[in-house]
């Protein structure tokens, strides 16, 4: 009975604080962009002439189909991250796409129209080498998979294995290629580096070895890199050292014939490894006799094999990219060649004779803020007059996909770099020119009474003008039909809105491309590709100057740290326009260990960035005289910490006046027992409104608000189920004092932590009960505050009271973040990214260590929810409804100008932006506010009083007459 009552009470509590999305709010202030990642394989669906699909397999283990008209996703399948979901090969035949996944572990076939799985089978272990479709008598029925030691053949219809055969001498021969041309044989091609080529021909029917030959080839080390099959089974390899082609007929037992490139009148660029490009339009037929040979970074030659002789059809120089495409019976070659500095032109050439096809020029504009084109995928189709038309999808270095139609119309652009956002910031938009003008009036020094009056008048006049202009635009737009009115956002018309809800999202991606995105619409306003970013670099973005200091432009600094050398470079830019700043960043010859943004400002209002190198020397950016002087004054109060997770060492330093550093504390966590997994401080822009909590008996429990507190999470080195544990240490970052230590036994990571105000929430996996658990630690000073005016780490004698409570969470989580508002009055919610793609907004109220087990009068007074072990996931709390965010990696929260509203950006494979109202919209009228009702009631009351007044007058008059 008591339980039932408790449950009832809980339900009431839950219902009363419900916060979610209304159906009519869909798409009003939220948007989602879906990405797939850097494309590895791509195929146009060429079965039907009018097909609108292109299938993509990407390096992010995503397999997707795009609509070629719009560039939107038709469907997408997101596999596991890491090598187990890695897509090794993509083959397309008709409506089926066959994928080899996870280093040859799985073979999957997808139905590309609806995006459903046809079949999936597990292959034998062994590292994957190559795969191809096998045809026979004009039909394709099988797929061959070559592994290190075995070759297997599978039915295309159901994936069942037809046969599997061991490769002969697989311990010495490195088999790398599998080839079939529809004559009932499958060839496995291997190489013993610098010795010979091994060729094994299997019968498609039963896997019997028909032929086994080995040919001397001491110059060859890798078949895949330097060989290809052209024409009717002619294995052609390129030998860069001798500048020659070697050819071998697979059907005949013969020696390799050598063709010197010189004899063809060709020359290889020095230091360049020539590449062969061939095409096999139909797997049931041999490849074409025409092929490309790349002789240099910008030179290609179209060659033809004609009865054993090679003839040059055409020399393309300069040319960036080449690609073959087939439609019907026609095969064409598309060649991209530079036109001028800002554009390229693509032309089609007949593959048979190398002649240029008329009216096939396509202009492709190069983006000065993007990378060079890297790959080209051509969709060819037959026009009504039997001529070949085509569209091109160009992939560039910065992972951008551009789909271009003749004569150069860009149909869509996909910025696939955004599938891998590393870090981001939200920057306030600048004021408009007129707003800035008004601001400027107050900033400038007084010139005199008269000029001030004039200035005032002129600025008022500007305002009036702007207002009239706005009214006129409204009037003008109102006459036009709705769809003609375009509210396009461009950098020029960007300006801050009334409540600062619209901001500039500066996103840094792993590929080194920076984006500026309008948070209201999701439009990409600027992009900037940083070349020479080392792969796997670590990024940190800091906002040194906001837009508040007109006329100084806002300034962001991106620290790019090479993971291996530790060397750091700085990129300073304007976050609103994306332009590189004219401020030259200092050269940093030493690896940087730590960077910190000080609240100090130089004379131009740029905050000072302090960089600590591996010699524990400190340098400042900007480092003007003014800054250095300020630093000297402040030095004694600047503390920082360093973490060395490999040695388990946490150390605290202070700055000396000569900008050297001094070690003041050190905490060593023995690495053989546990290792440091993450360290979380508080966010510097966080505000806490109330110093304490009012208890049921009207006393106040004061929060322990230490701004220097660090939450250090450790995991045990021992991974055994019974002995693993997760530890959490709360350390003061200035003094090194350990405030609290908690250990969760029989638990393991990954641990997600949020540290804010006076609480730390963390999530871990309980190995004992096999479930995810949340734990919350809250710190309180007690009933009295030691020093209410200022918090000092050095002068806080009493240890805080620590409360902790744990809960079961019915799902695993991907990421965790807390909402943030301008002044911290609004109650907090936790934003939890789930693997299902939902983003759950869980009120912090549920994670409160003071939730009582037995309800008392006092706890009810305090609005505490009775303790329940399990937290519930309600789909109404998903802030992104069905707009799931795949593989959510991070959630960025930023305050807006409204206290009730917090801006949220979730990023992973997708990007989702929305607003949340943790305590509902208490400071603005709700969007469903009924203006009609209130005004009609007012009017009605007004008329009613008029009428009743009249009636009363009449009545009084009547009475007087009586």
């Amino acid at each position: 009975m008591a339980k039932a009552i408790l449950l009832f009470l809980k339900l009431i509590a839950v219902c009363s604080i419900v916060e979610g999305v209304y159906e009519d709010q869909v798409g009003k202030f939220d948007w989602r962009q879906q990405y797939v990642g850097k494309v590895r394989f791509s195929h146009f669906d060429s079965q039907v002439q009018s097909s609108k699909k292109v299938v993509l397999a990407t390096e992010n283990n995503v397999f997707a189909a795009l609509n070629t008209r719009t560039g939107d996703l038709s469907w997408r399948h997101v596999d596991k991250t890491g090598p187990e979901g890695n897509i090794d090969a993509l083959m397309q035949h008709g409506q089926d796409a066959v994928l080899v996944v996870g280093n040859g572990r799985l073979l999957r076939s997808w139905e590309i129209n609806i995006g459903g799985l046809n079949w999936e089978i597990v292959l034998d272990s062994g590292s994957f080498q190559s795969a191809c479709l096998v045809g026979q008598q004009e039909t394709v029925k099988h797929v061959a998979v070559l592994k290190k030691t075995v070759l297997s053949l599978h039915y295309l219809s159901n994936g069942h294995q037809k046969w599997i055969e061991n490769l002969p001498e697989s311990d010495t021969v490195d088999y790398q290629m599998v080839y079939s041309d529809g004559n009932g044989q499958v060839y496995a091609l291997g190489v013993v580096p610098h010795s010979h080529i091994a060729i094994v021909a299997y019968s498609t029917e039963d896997g019997e070895i028909i032929k086994q030959i080995s040919v001397e080839a001491p110059w060859l080390s890798n078949v895949q890199e330097s060989c290809t099959v052209i024409g009717k089974g002619m294995l052609t390899c390129v030998d860069p050292s001798a500048a020659s082609l070697h050819m071998l007929d697979l059907h005949a037992d013969s020696e390799m014939t050598q063709v010197l490139l010189q004899s063809l009148g060709l020359e290889v660029a020095t230091g360049f490894h020539p590449v062969l490009v061939s095409t096999q339009p139909n797997p049931a037929r041999p490849p074409l006799a025409e092929f490309f040979l790349q002789l240099g970074p910008e030179q290609f030659v179209l060659l033809q094999l004609n009865s054993g002789h090679i003839a040059t059809l055409r020399d393309f120089k300069p040319a960036f990219l080449v690609s073959f495409a087939t439609t019907g019976e026609k095969t064409v070659a598309a060649v991209m060649s530079p036109k001028n500095k800002t554009a390229c032109s693509i032309n089609l050439f007949s593959a048979e004779n190398g002649r240029r096809l008329l009216d096939t020029t396509l202009n492709f504009a190069l983006d000065s803020n993007g990378g060079k084109p890297e790959k080209m995928y051509v969709q060819a189709f037959l026009k009504k007059d039997d001529a070949v038309g085509y569209r091109v999808m160009v992939q560039s270095e910065d992972h951008t996909l551009t789909f271009v139609q003749q004569p150069g119309r860009v149909m869509w652009i996909r910025e696939e770099a955004l599938s891998d956002v590393v870090t981001m910031e939200m920057v306030d938009l600048p004021l408009t020119g007129t707003q800035a003008e008004l601001e400027g009036e107050f900033g400038k020094k007084a010139d005199g009474l008269m000029s001030m009056v004039l200035k005032r008048l002129s600025s008022q006049f500007i305002l009036l003008q702007a207002w009239v202009g706005h009214l006129w635009k409204l009037f003008y737009d109102a006459r036009k039909p709705r769809r003609d009115v375009k509210n396009e956002v461009t950098i020029e018309n960007l300006s801050r809105d009334e409540f600062n809800l619209q901001k500039m999202m500066v996103m840094v991606t792993a590929s080194g491309k920076l984006f500026g995105i309008d948070s209201k619409t999701g439009t990409i306003l600027w992009k900037h590709y940083l070349e020479n970013v080392p792969p796997g670099a670590v990024f940190k973005l800091v906002v040194q100057r906001t837009t508040a200091h007109f006329p100084h432009p806002p300034q962001c600094t991106l620290l790019i740290k090479d993971k291996e050398s530790g060397l750091t470079t700085l990129h300073v830019f304007n976050p609103i326009f994306g332009k590189k700043s004219h401020v030259t960043p200092p050269a940093l010859p030493q690896p940087i260990l730590q960077s910190l943004l000080l609240p100090l400002m130089d004379q131009d209002y740029a905050k000072v960035l302090l960089l600590v190198d591996d010699q524990y020397k400190v340098s400042a950016f900007p480092s003007t005289k003014n800054v250095l002087q300020q630093l000297q004054e402040m030095a004694s109060s600047i503390f920082f910490y360093l973490v060395d997770s490999s040695q388990g060492r946490l150390s605290g330093y202070r700055l000396r006046t000569d900008l050297s550093t001094e070690l003041i504390w050190e905490v060593v966590i023995p690495t053989e027992v546990q290792r440091i997994v993450s360290i979380k401080g508080k966010r510097p822009n966080e505000h806490v409104h109330s110093q304490g909590r009012v208890m049921g008996d009207r006393s106040v429990l004061y929060k322990y608000l230490n701004p220097n507190l660090l939450a250090v999470v450790t995991e045990s080195a021992d991974n055994h189920q019974e002995r693993s544990f997760v530890g959490i240490l709360l350390i003061d970052g200035v003094t090194g004092r350990i405030i609290h230590e908690a250990v969760q036994r029989k638990a393991k990571g990954p641990v997600h932590v949020v540290h804010s105000e006076n609480w730390v929430v963390y999530e871990y996996w309980s190995t004992k009960s096999r479930r995810n658990e949340f734990s919350v630690i809250e710190l309180y000073e007690g009933m009295e505050l030691y020093n209410s005016t200022v918090f000092s780490s050095l002068d806080r004698p009493h240890a805080p009271q620590v409360l902790q409570q744990s809960y079961i969470f019915p799902s695993s989580i991907s990421t965790l973040e807390a909402t943030l508002t301008e002044k911290g009055i609004t109650s907090r919610h936790l934003l939890i990214g789930l693997p299902s793609g939902g983003i759950l907004s869980l009120p912090k109220m549920f994670l409160d260590p003071r939730r009582p087990e037995i309800v008392t009068e006092q706890s009810r007074e305090e609005n505490l929810i009775p303790y329940a072990p399990e937290l519930i996931i309600r789909t109404e709390w998903f802030i992104n409804y069905n707009q799931t965010v795949s593989r959510v990696r991070g959630i960025h929260t930023a305050p807006s100008g409204l206290e009730s509203t917090c801006l949220v950006v979730a990023y992973g494979l997708d990007i989702y932006q929305t607003r949340v109202y943790p305590s509902k919209q208490f400071d603005v009228l709700k969007d469903d506010y009924d203006y009609m009702l209130i005004s009609s009631v007012l009017f009605a009351l007004f008329f009613a009083t008029m009428i009743s007044k009249r009636l009363a007058e009449v009545k009084l008059l009547n009475r007087a007459w009586r």
Partner: protein, 241 residues
């Protein structure tokens, strides 16, 4: 900046706070959390079928996935709604079907080291409790997700059934109708009312209540017309909507 001279301590600790909280570390979670290799290497397959009643499979399968223990193992749905998750070592797993539009219950699947399978209901509190489910899994959707809150709509009944309105309307009716039913000009009746009023308020210290009532009733014509007027007024007001 101005306060620096006055309370240097505050500034100092603000500084410290900012500095500490802005520290930049590139902590990387170690590789240990990743793949746990099974020594015996026996891998099994979790099979089942998902059904959304009344919806064609091709309308929902392309957006659905099978997640085993978070994203530890991932499976995809075939065009007929069946699925198989390959390469799963022995252990106990929560198997969920994830679809942005349809709701499925999660199931716990236990795999012994010999490959015996058992499916049971997920219970996070009593983790050892076993309520058997069919295996191969048969997961039936319990309908679409309810993501949205209902807007509070405004209706006539809501307005009329509001207790405040009821409390207002009833006395109004009495005030308007009572004088019509009872002839207040009749002195006998007046006396009776007075008496009853006195009975209702027996406190002798408040004699003016009855007086008030009589006054009220005598002047009721004026006030009632006013009250009636305003009540009339609200009605057309809402009708106008």
């Amino acid at each position: 900046m101005l306060q620096r001279e006055r309370i240097p301590l505050l500034w100092v600790f603000m500084q410290a706070a900012f500095v500490v909280s802005w520290c930049f570390t590139d902590m990387e979670t170690g590789p240990g959390a990743g793949v746990s290799t099974q020594p015996n290497g026996d891998r099994f397959k979790i099979e089942g079928r998902a059904i959304v009643p009344g919806v064609k499979t091709q309308d929902w399968v392309s957006a659905a996935r099978v997640l085993v223990e978070g994203e530890e193992y991932v499976g995809f749905l075939r065009t007929d709604g069946s699925f198989a998750v390959n390469d799963v070592p022995s252990g106990s797993y929560v198997v969920e079907i994830i679809s942005p539009n349809y709701r499925f219950e999660a199931v716990r699947v236990d795999i012994t080291s010999k490959g015996k399978m058992r499916a049971r209901l997920v219970n996070h509190i009593k983790t050892s409790e076993v309520i058997r489910q069919p295996y191969p899994l048969q997961i039936r959707s319990s309908g679409p997700h309810s993501y949205f809150l209902k807007r509070e709509t405004w209706g006539w009944t809501d307005f009329l059934m509001n207790p405040m309105v009821m409390m207002m309307v009833l006395p109004l009716l009495i005030i308007v109708l009572l004088p019509k039913v009872v002839n207040t000009n009749d002195p006998e009746m007046r006396k009776e009312i007075e008496q009853s009023m006195n009975m209702l308020s027996p406190n002798p210290e408040l004699p003016d209540v009855s007086e008030l009532v009589t006054k009220f009733f005598s002047g009721s014509k004026g006030s009632s017309s006013k009250a009636g007027g305003s009540s009339k007024g609200t009605r057309p007001a809402v009708k106008r909507r």
